[in-house]
């Protein structure tokens, strides 16, 4: 049995005018660290809210650990932990009071499951008498994670837990998730950051309410059908406009100091391409074959859709 199942789920807002989730089906296995990857407005939060029984789907069925999200919502509410995308703790309560409140609310105590949150809580313990509203962004997320975990949920739903958090805290946060996974908790996490996708066991790429691909990050990257090149020159802006006007180029996107391109003709010669670009007046042209990342896969899938 899968820990989480979505079966042809559709959700619209404003009486059907806005399509948020479009016929989504996927499964998350027991004990898996599953990522829902997509830009803002892709429908990630809507899917989370359907799974956490906060929203009713228009069509389709969803279940968590075998319990139907509509009929058995009370059962599900006893079994899951949920960390909403927006910081949702009481800003005027202290760290300790928040944790204590949520532990009691879910019928548990801090002591009972302290082992589970120990690693995370130790980091915010020095501030346990500070009001939650006065914590830094990373601290807030750690506290929110503690509050979502304190009752030892079977499935943990984390909606964009690292949005607005600095790079170091993000890394720490993902280390914690891996640690939790080892304890047998199924984790469903969403993120708009592509670099975090590779940290999940399996991911679903989602865009405009539709799932584009579900697989392990490695497989998704390996499924990239053509060769991918990274190219740079002195004037990167001109290079990009020139590349977009060249007939042999299939796609071109700026990635930091490089531009990632694919070619229409799989067998095309790189040297010819380099010559063509140099003829257009570009200097220090550098082209190399690279391995596609999740972001490349995402953009390619997005353009095909």
């Amino acid at each position: 049995m899968s820990a989480v199942t979505l079966d042809h789920i559709t959700k619209t807002y404003d009486k059907g005018k806005v399509l948020a989730v479009n016929d989504v089906s996927l499964q998350v296995e027991e004990g898996e660290l599953f990522g829902l990857i997509g830009p803002d407005g892709a429908g990630k939060t809507s899917i989370f809210r359907i799974l956490t029984t906060l929203l009713l789907p228009d069509k389709g069925t969803a279940s968590v650990r075998g319990y139907d999200c509509v009929k058995d919502y009370k059962e599900i509410r006893n079994r899951i932990g949920y960390m909403p995308g927006k910081f949702s703790l009481y800003q005027d309560l202290t760290v300790k009071e928040n944790l204590d409140f949520f532990a009691t609310l879910f019928g548990s105590t801090i002591e009972e499951n302290y082992e589970l949150i120990k690693d995370i809580y130790d980091q915010i313990k020095p501030f346990s008498d500070r009001r939650a509203g006065k914590l830094s962004g990373g601290m807030k997320q750690k506290l929110a994670l503690c509050c979502a975990l304190i009752h030892k949920p079977e499935v943990l739903f984390l909606d964009e837990p690292t949005t607005g958090v600095d790079v170091v805290s993000r890394k720490e946060f993902w280390d914690m998730l891996k640690h939790l996974k080892q304890q047998g908790i199924t984790i469903v996490v969403s993120t708009p950051y592509m670099d975090e996708a590779v940290l999940c066991e399996r991911i679903a790429l989602i865009q405009n309410g539709k799932i584009m691909s579900v697989d392990t990050p490695d497989k998704i990257m390996a499924q990239f059908p053509v060769k991918l090149y990274a190219i740079k020159a002195d004037n990167i802006y001109h290079l990009l406009t020139d590349l977009r006007s060249m007939p042999e180029i299939d796609s071109s996107f700026a990635f930091g100091e490089y531009i990632h391109i694919t070619l229409k003709d799989a067998g095309a010669d790189i040297d010819t391409l380099q010559r063509n670009i140099t003829q257009r007046g570009h200097t220090h042209v550098d082209i190399k074959l690279i391995h596609p990342g999740i972001e490349d896969s995402f953009i390619r899938l997005m353009n095909q859709a």
């Binding site: 956490t52 509410r77 909403p84 949702s88 703790l89 409140f101 609310l105």
Partner: protein
């Protein structure tokens, strides 16, 4: 059960850590009571009275002394010209002028009839009427004094009494009214914000996902405010008794129970607003601005409901504070027992049940 207690404790934390809530909760009632008690009084006192005595005889002087000895007037015996009176009214230096014509005493002694002119500022008709009544009463008393044997064969002397408030203390009517007004506004406003705040901050999402029952959320929200409102009620009562000299004639226990019922009515109303709105601002606007005026007008302590057009009288029936006002007026001022207020109590009870049902029906177990 432990969950409920922890939830209630959390609500208390919210109240005590938010200075604004505390200010609304306890500052507003004190300010209102003091304001209404001292500033808003219908009594007329210390009116500046300009006297122009063109007669200057024994009778006119005696009458002026009588007026002086009453506590209502500050008599200003000026020698200003009759023509200047209009000016001093315009400037506002005088509210009332009393003019004795030349030969006042002579007319009275020998003609048996003398005239006296009273001029008042009609731009404030209530005060003007009161002033005329005061002077007429003093004049009549003086007239009887100087002609002890009435020539009339039949006389009717009306002996009036103001029951429950013999000395005509103006705060007496205001206190129950202000109590009704303050409790209504404060209880409704604070509870209306309490649930919406959770929605706005996003904590409602987690509360809903928890196994905690929605009904318990409402109970946990209502109990702290019930306790605080009762404390508030005691505070208002203490202020009324010790600062404004309003005695409590009836049973304090009955007063307390009736107030508790009224507070629950208001809490239910607040919860209903809270469950049907989506932002603290809307909730506060609805409960404070939206309620303030109707409560003030339709409670009946400022303007008598009996004088309103029929349609407004009907509307006043749905304002809970109107019924509470009737109850505490009866219990506090008249000292009546439950047998005289059971009808009003029943109306409040009915309202509470209806409001609570609507509040519960509208509590969403999911996000809308």
């Amino acid at each position: 059960m432990k969950q409920l207690l922890v939830f209630i404790r959390k609500e208390f934390f919210h109240v005590f850590r938010d200075k604004r809530t505390l200010l609304i909760m306890f500052g507003l009632p004190v300010a209102q009571i003091v304001l209404f008690g001292f500033a808003l009084t219908s009594e007329v006192k210390d009116i500046t009275l300009t006297v122009i005595d063109n007669s200057r005889d024994a009778n006119s002087q005696q009458l002026i002394r009588k007026i002086k000895s009453s506590s209502y007037f500050i008599v200003n015996e000026s020698s200003i010209d009759y023509n200047d009176i209009a000016n001093s009214f315009k400037k506002g230096t005088t509210k009332c002028a009393l003019i004795f014509p030349a030969g006042f005493g002579n007319d009275l002694q020998h003609g048996g009839k003398a005239q006296l002119q009273i001029i008042t500022d009609g731009s404030d008709p209530n005060t003007a009427k009161t002033v005329v009544n005061y002077i007429t009463a003093i004049t009549t008393a003086y007239q009887q004094e100087i002609s002890p044997s009435p020539q009339l064969p039949y006389t009717i002397v009306p002996e009036s009494r103001m029951l429950y408030n013999e000395e005509g203390n103006g705060s007496l009517n205001f206190i129950p009214g202000v109590m009704a007004l303050v409790l209504m506004i404060v209880c409704t406003a604070l509870t209306s914000v309490s649930v919406v705040r959770e929605k706005e901050l996003g904590t409602m999402e987690i509360l809903l996902v928890s196994p905690f029952k929605p009904l318990m959320v409402l109970i946990a929200k209502a109990i702290p405010y019930l306790i605080l409102s009762l404390a508030n009620f005691v505070l208002i009562l203490l202020l009324a008794v010790f600062v404004l000299d309003v005695g409590i004639k009836g049973s304090i226990l009955l007063l307390f129970m009736e107030s508790m019922l009224f507070i629950i009515t208001c809490l239910s109303f607040g919860l209903m607003i809270s469950n049907t709105t989506n932002s603290q601002q809307t909730a506060l606007l609805l409960s404070m601005m939206g309620l303030m005026l109707p409560t003030m007008i339709f409670t009946g302590f400022m303007f008598p409901i009996e004088n309103m057009p029929k349609i407004f009288q009907l509307i006043s029936n749905i304002i809970p504070s109107r019924w509470y006002f009737l109850i505490i007026k009866s219990v506090m001022l008249k000292g009546l027992g439950f047998e005289y207020v059971w009808k009003e109590t029943l109306v409040l009870l009915g309202m509470t049940i209806i409001l609570l049902t609507i509040a519960l029906k509208n509590f969403k177990t999911r996000l809308s």
